[in-house]
Amino acid sequence: MPKYLLLKHYRGGPEPYRPFPPMDQWAPEDVEAHMAFQRHVQELLRENGEYVDAQALTPAQTWVRYGGPEAAPVTTDGPLPETSDLVAGWFMIDVDSHERALELAAYISSEPGPDGEPMYEWIGVREVMSGAPEPD
């Protein structure tokens, strides 16, 4: 059964279908509803026996590389810190098919935003490579 990462982003991805203001400008009850939906998705996945993992990331991203022998690691905020893709978190799922992964991603994208309206957020869907190949 294939595993997928359903990725939520702070920024990046296709043009938003419906632009919305940052969450700190939402009504408190809309923020609550949004967060309740995230918990509900986790519950749903557990109920279905499709849950593997769910995590959220802080927005701070540091790029780091080997500095060379005897040198300290080299760090930077990245080339275009304001516009590059930035992952916010993920659900990892274990499902019967690619179609099922898309179905769940679309459901996650229906999460409530300001005034309880669906956010239509773009969700990145990535298949996880399995540990070993199918029989030849």
Partner: protein, 402 residues
């Protein structure tokens, strides 16, 4: 026959028999399975000091007691104590008359109920028929134990109240066992061996030639497993495998099983897909060297395989693709490449299509095109071992061109 009461294999062989007995006499599959799990835990505690004479009868009695207890507590919850306190229906013990094979088949039909999703069918089969612990099944599929537990209990809930008085769908059972086999090349639990064990039991329970075809296919594939990866875990393709490492005992058994299946087939009732695939595997296993492969004969079987579907390109593209590679070996790489063209719409974005074409470009003496196709394939691979293998193939053919 004496056997160590705590021998794991013996204990696991008893699980489906006891469970089938309980379900046959009218217990709910869900409740019976829970009760049997509790009985097994109790057995591990009690048996070392006081091993019973009849292990199966002991497990049945303890599981039945648990079922009564469960019914009692549920009744208490519903404040209807007197309604359901009756003992369970007396064991008519039809189960004891039935042989082990019947029990296995009966349980496989329950676990492979068409209303369940494939993932649930696989999980429930491994738990209820294979006797594996939820933890082991979760490990095999690399999911959290809680997720697998939930998947199993949902599947059991779906079966709640279902009557199992009619034979199930054998084709679904065969597909589920093949799924278990295919998953078995990965995890920490040897699911391939488990699938072979279950398929062997199934062949004792049904005369259906396809069940034997599936067992033969598994054996004939499994025989090559020791040569399929090198010491560093890298994939070794069929044409480069050290054939002295193939398991000749498994090959002999696979061929014997396949012959017994094909022997009962007629022109009116030609062999099904597992028998055909097993025949192809047998031809590969029979070749002393890759160059000694009887490709025309392999192609004849692939023609049969493809002919099993009305619209093979849509219904069985994997078979059409594999056949195209064989066409390349018989009629040359260019002919094989032409065969792959009609799959472009269906498989064009899958790594297997590009990998097959890469191999055909090699046969066609065009390493540059082969390298490009291997590179395309590697970018679409869905497993780490396959991706690494395809990148190495791309590098190898790229270097051959230079």
């Amino acid at each position: 026959m004496w056997c160590d009461p705590l021998d794991e294999g013996a204990l696991r062989a008893l699980v489906p028999r006891v469970l089938a007995g309980l379900v046959r006499r009218g217990e709910d599959f869900d409740a019976a399975e829970d009760a049997l799990q509790e009985a097994l835990i109790e057995a591990l505690r009690v048996w070392p000091d006081r091993p019973p004479e009849d292990l199966r009868a002991w497990l049945t009695t303890v599981a039945t007691r648990r079922l009564v207890d469960a019914r009692r507590s549920e009744a208490a919850r519903h404040r209807r104590e007197d309604a359901v306190l009756a003992e369970p229906p007396a064991a008519s013990d039809r189960a004891s008359a039935a042989d082990a094979g019947d029990d296995t088949l009966f349980l496989l039909f329950c676990c492979c109920h068409p209303e369940l999703s494939p993932a649930s069918q696989v999980a429930l089969t491994l738990r209820a028929v294979g006797g594996l612990a939820t933890r082991e099944i979760a490990d095999a599929f690399f999911v959290p134990e809680a997720t697998m537990a939930q998947r199993i209990s949902r599947a059991k809930r779906t079966l709640r109240g279902r009557r199992f008085d009619r034979p199930g769908d054998l084709a679904v059972v065969l597909r589920v066992l093949y799924l278990v086999y295919s998953a078995g090349h990965a995890g920490r639990v040897d699911l391939a061996a488990e699938a072979i064990r279950l398929a062997r039991q199934l062949t004792l329970a049904t005369p259906e030639p396809e069940a034997r075809g599936l067992l033969a296919l598994m054996l004939l594939h499994h025989a090559r497993l020791p040569a399929r990866f090198d010491a560093d875990g890298r994939i070794v393709p069929l044409d480069r495998q050290d054939r002295t490492r193939w398991d000749t005992r498994e090959i002999a058994e696979g061929v014997r099983v396949l012959q017994s299946a094909l022997a009962v087939q007629t022109d009116e009732r030609p062999p099904g897909r597992y028998q055909v695939e097993a025949a192809i595997a047998a031809l590969h296993d029979d070749a002393q060297t890759a160059a000694g492969t009887d490709w025309p004969q392999v192609l004849a079987w692939y023609d049969d395989l493809v002919a099993l579907s009305d619209d093979p390109v849509r219904q069985d593209p994997a078979a059409v693709l594999a056949r195209a590679v064989v066409v390349g070996h018989v009629h040359g790489g260019a002919a094989g490449l032409r065969e792959t063209e009609r799959l472009r719409d269906v498989l064009g974005d899958r790594h297997r299509w590009h990998a097959a074409r890469a191999h055909l470009h090699e046969l066609d003496g065009d390493p540059a095109a082969a390298a490009d196709a291997y590179e395309e394939a590697s970018r679409r691979a869905t497993s780490v071992a396959e991706r690494d293998h395809l990148i190495r193939q791309a590098a190898r053919t790229r270097a051959a061109r230079a």
